[in-house]
Every structure is written in structure tokens, then in C-alpha cells.
Symmetry: C2
């Protein structure tokens, strides 16, 4: 039995099924793909593929459909990711270039990715590991409450409210502001914790200082890293059938950013490499018929992930190409 042809058959089945969303039979296969053998031969191959668990038939005497394992095989065999068309490349460059700020850029990026792939796109906020504290600002909100604003030299701004019980006057705030800025100016986010250990303030400010320290450490650690932007949920409706109608739990999972974040970080994907999780390969039950195509982006010192989510019956080559291309463009822009 011809080994190379069997691989071609699998590829053909995946492609046809993705294109038509109908189980593909032996006859249609030879016609649409110019295979130089008879349908009967293909049937034998298909029987073998089914034996290996790569394809399955929805019911007796129907065509074959790829299984998760079949898609996996298919994806693993893609060696040269097909490049995007020139038009698409231009679109990417045009849309992403010259962003107003980070939020704006991520927003555009995620929309772009969604519209390129016709799927749901997700982008994680990037965090620069070399990012350092630029400035801390304290704003007196009302009695007992202080707004802490952390500005980094990569242009991120984080804020949180601190409430330490005892009142605080203008002079106190000024003293704290100076103390913290002295201690933290130009300190990397990853070192904020240790830098704060040797901060010294007047005794009556101790309580506030420790409360603030706690918050600042927290801000520095989780700075945006735990946020996601998403777009393209409307595309879910179009490909609704593909999820076996279990679209509800999926939408829920999408809203639960924690789940998505976990999923993304669990996909190792060193930058530049596109990794794929297919259907039940995902550790989440509601993703049983969902695939995730993810990759890292950003520069060495500013790593984050972006991904596309869609039905297992998805155009993997195109999606992977889009994900890779967008990640590269964004990385370039970010490194400037």
C-alpha cells in the first residue's frame, strides 16, 4: 500500500471537509484532486486511515470526516507555512502602523486578526521584563483613600486604590510620594519588591507605606499581563454549526479571561513558532470542538501571546499564516 499517497489522501480529506463542511467520499476525492487511482483504491486507504483513528464516519455509509488526531497529523505535516498575499501584507502594515498608544494598537491588531481569519482573535497585553518604573503618583481621593498610579517607561499606566484606615494630609502624601519615587525610580518591575524593602519613612506613615508597598508590588507584578483583548465573536455565529451547537459554554469561557489566559500560557510557543491545540487536546471541556492557534510576539524583553480560536474544522494553513504574520508585524512595531 502506497505510503505517500495515504498522506495525500488525508490532506485531501481535510481540505475538502474544511471547504465544504460535508463528509467527503471516495469518488468525490479522486475527482477533485486528480488522483490517478480508482475510488476503490482510495477506499482501502481510507479504511487504513480510519484504522489509525485519523478519520471517522459520522454514520455508516457516509463519507469520512477528520478526527482531532487527523487534524493533528495534517497540521504537523505543514512544513512551509504559505505566505500571505501581498494585499494582505499591505493591509496588515497599513492597519497596525503608527499607533496612537498601546491600547489602540492592540485593539486594531485583534480586530485585524479576527477579520483576516474570520475567527475569534485574542491578544494578551505585552509586558516588558526590562520595563522600569518611571513615576509614581498619589492622588488623594477622599478621607482614608489614596489612588496610586504607576507609570512605566514603556508607557503603561496602572492604578489602584489604597485604603489604610488612618487619615493623611497633603504633607504626608508629598512625603510618601518623594520616598517612593526615590526608592523606585528606574527600578525594573521585577525588582520592585526587593527595592521596597529598604524604604524608610516617618513613623506615623509606616502604616500607609506598607499598604502602598503591597499594592505597588502587586501592580508591578500583574501589570496588564493578565488582560486580554478579544474580537470577532460575531464570527462564532457564522460557524455556529461547527461547534455542535454548544456555543453557550464557549462564549462563557471567552468571557472568563482567566481560563483563556491559562490556556494561552500553557501553550509553550516560543516566539516565532506557531503552536496549535486541536479540539480535545485542550484541557478545557468546553473547547472539545475548538482549536487554538497561538504564538508569542514582542521582543525578547517583552513577551506576550496572541491567538485565534475557531472550530476544529478550520483552515489551519491560512490561520497559521495570519497568526504568524501579524505577530511578526506587531513585534516589529513594538520594538521601536
Amino acid at each position: 500500500m502506497n505510503e505517500g499517497r495515504r498522506a495525500r489522501v488525508l490532506r485531501a480529506i481535510v481540505e475538502d471537509y474544511v471547504a465544504t463542511n460535508e463528509p467527503v467520499g471516495s469518488k468525490a476525492l479522486v475527482e477533485r484532486h486528480g488522483l490517478q487511482v480508482s475510488p476503490a483504491t482510495i477506499r482501502n486507504d481510507m479504511a487504513a486511515l480510519e484504522q489509525q483513528g485519523l478519520i471517522a464516519q459520522p454514520h455508516t455509509s457516509a463519507g469520512r470526516v477528520p478526527t482531532d488526531k487527523g487534524y493533528r497529523e495534517f497540521v504537523d505535516r505543514i512544513d512551509d507555512v504559505k505566505p500571505l498575499s501581498a494585499a494582505e501584507k499591505r493591509a496588515i502594515a497599513r492597519i497596525i502602523e503608527r499607533p496612537v498608544d498601546i491600547d489602540e494598537m492592540l485593539d486594531r491588531t485583534v480586530r485585524l486578526l479576527a477579520s483576516l481569519t474570520h475567527q475569534v482573535a485574542v491578544v494578551q497585553y505585552p509586558m516588558a521584563t526590562t520595563t522600569a518604573v518611571r513615576h509614581l503618583e498619589f492622588v488623594d481621593l477622599a478621607a482614608h483613600r489614596l489612588l496610586v498610579v504607576l507609570i512605566t517607561d514603556s508607557g503603561q499606566v496602572e492604578q489602584r486604590i489604597v485604603d489604610a484606615g488612618s487619615p493623611l494630609d497633603e504633607a504626608g502624601i508629598a512625603a510618601l510620594r518623594d520616598a517612593f519615587n526615590d526608592a523606585l525610580h528606574q527600578v525594573r518591575l521585577s525588582r520592585v519588591g526587593s527595592a521596597l524593602e529598604r524604604i524608610s519613612v516617618a513613623p506615623e506613615l509606616r502604616e500607609w507605606a506598607s499598604a502602598i508597598s503591597e499594592v505597588v508590588v502587586d501592580l508591578a507584578r500583574s501589570s496588564r499581563q493578565d488582560r486580554l483583548v478579544m474580537a470577532g465573536t460575531a464570527n462564532l455565529a457564522r460557524s455556529g454549526r461547527d461547534f455542535g451547537e454548544h456555543i453557550g459554554p464557549l462564549l462563557e469561557a471567552f468571557e472568563e479571561q482567566v481560563v483563556l489566559l491559562k490556556l494561552l500560557t500553557s501553550m509553550v510557543a516560543e516566539t516565532g513558532r506557531v503552536s496549535v491545540r486541536i479540539g480535545r487536546e485542550n484541557p478545557v471541556e468546553s473547547f472539545a470542538s475548538t482549536s487554538v492557534v497561538a504564538t508569542g510576539y514582542g521582543t525578547d524583553d517583552s513577551e506576550a501571546k496572541l491567538a485565534v480560536l475557531g472550530p476544529t474544522r478550520m483552515d489551519y494553513p491560512t490561520t497559521m499564516a495570519a497568526v504568524r504574520a501579524v505577530a511578526r508585524y506587531v513585534s516589529v512595531i513594538l520594538s521601536e
Copy 2:
């Protein structure tokens, strides 16, 4: 023909239809609602109601279904909004109280509203009209680029990048920072524009100053007002059928925040009053079978809107009660 009973019949039809999602017939009505008349009588009433365009039948010899106009009548007749259960009230108080910051609070609020109503919830960021500038911070990002951070005394933080072509050194940044903070400290957001007219800087900083001014004015004007938080899209899947399967355009509209914002602001709703738009009453085509229950929240000087979106076939009393209650609680918290 008994006038009062006819109103009761309409109410009963709406309630039953909302509960069962099936056209309701004359017989079932008398049974489920203990009306002391025969089905034939109800049929006469129904004929009259249909005459007025309040109800309709999907096809001959099926039960009746409320029309948009019917729902409208029903909603207008709700005088005393039924209060929430004690348990629900406690849940609201517990979830919203003691927020870490505004973002956190709005996030919680919108999720709460979604889970209370089992619909999609939307909350607009509040803007205090009396809010004033607390501090402006300029961060040097790279050559030619400056991050402008605006901090208000209500604790909002806004940022944007300015790029004015010519380089700028540390001293220049410091000069600008001082000039702008002098001019704007404690100035209300609504007056930022005029306050900036009389700012004066060294000639070589003119170009930068005007670029920055433009950005700051923009920040002050649109400060967050144009952002929405949303939750509960998963609920769309559950009530999918109700939208006649046209769920796609709906999801699109939901992603297009501009549309939603316009819709919300077009619903006059003075604070404390819950207003309802039913189906085609909405000026947006894709909302043909969607209802919006909205209200204002916040204090006098800090107005914004929140709303619940769902199928026209929606439990209006409960939804309206939830919207009103949540708006009140949030207003109280905000005013502190």
C-alpha cells in the same frame, strides 16, 4: 366588552408567552390564570387586541404572540416595579461594595447585572462633570515621542502618545510639565480647552505645547465616556432562537461600541427612571427583535448609563427591577 379584562388578557398573554416561548391560546389562558369566563369570551377579546395590533398570530390557527406594540403597552402599564427579593438585594450589596478601583467596580457591576437578568449587560464609564485635573505627567518614550498621562481627582487615569517631530530634552519636558500643571491644576475637565489658551512656554517649545494641548483637550473631553463594559454574551446562545437566528449581526453590533453608545445616549432616561426600547423601536436594523432596558446612574455630577439587552420576548418586570436596583446601588457607592 369588558375593558379591564382585556388589559388583563394582554398581560396574561405576555406573561405566558415569556414563560413558555409558545403562542398562547384561549383555553390555556383561562386555565392558567383563573379567569372567570369561557375561552370563547377570551377569543373575542383576543380578536379585539389583534385589531389594535397588540398581538398577532404566527400563522392561522395558532395561539397569539405579543407584538412590539403589545409589549410596549404591557411595559407602560407596569406602575409599581416589583422589588427584588431580599436575597438578591444582599447579593448586589455584597458584590458591589468595597471596590478596589473604578474598573474593578464596573466589571463586577456588569457581570452582576448579566447574571441577575440572564441577559447581556452593558455599562458606560461614568464621567463626573465636576471632575478636575489632578496632575499631568509626561513620560519620555523615545526620540520624538512623549506619553501624556492625565490624572483626575476622581481617580481616572487617561493616557496618550504625542509625536511632534522635533526632539525634546529632559529640561524641556520638565518645563512643559510645570507649565501645563500650573495652567490646569484643579481645572474642570469641561474648562480645559479655554484654560489652555493662555498657556505660555518658551518659543522653542511652542510646537510641542500645541501638540500636547490638542491631545489633552481630547483626553479631557472623551475621558472614558466613550467606553463600555459588557458581559453576558453567553446568554445570547441560550436565548438564541428568540432572535430568529439573526444572532450574527447582533454580536457584530455589540462589538461595535459606537453603535451601542449612540443607542444608549439616545435613550433619554433621566437618572432613576428606567426606560425601555422594544424591538423595532430601536433605530438599528439588527436590533429588530432586541429590547433595551436602560437607565442612568451616578450622582448629579457624574452621569452615565447602564443597560440590559435581550430578546423582545424578555421578562420585563424582573429586568427593569434589576436594572433599577443595580443603578441605585452603584450610584450610592459612587457618591462616596
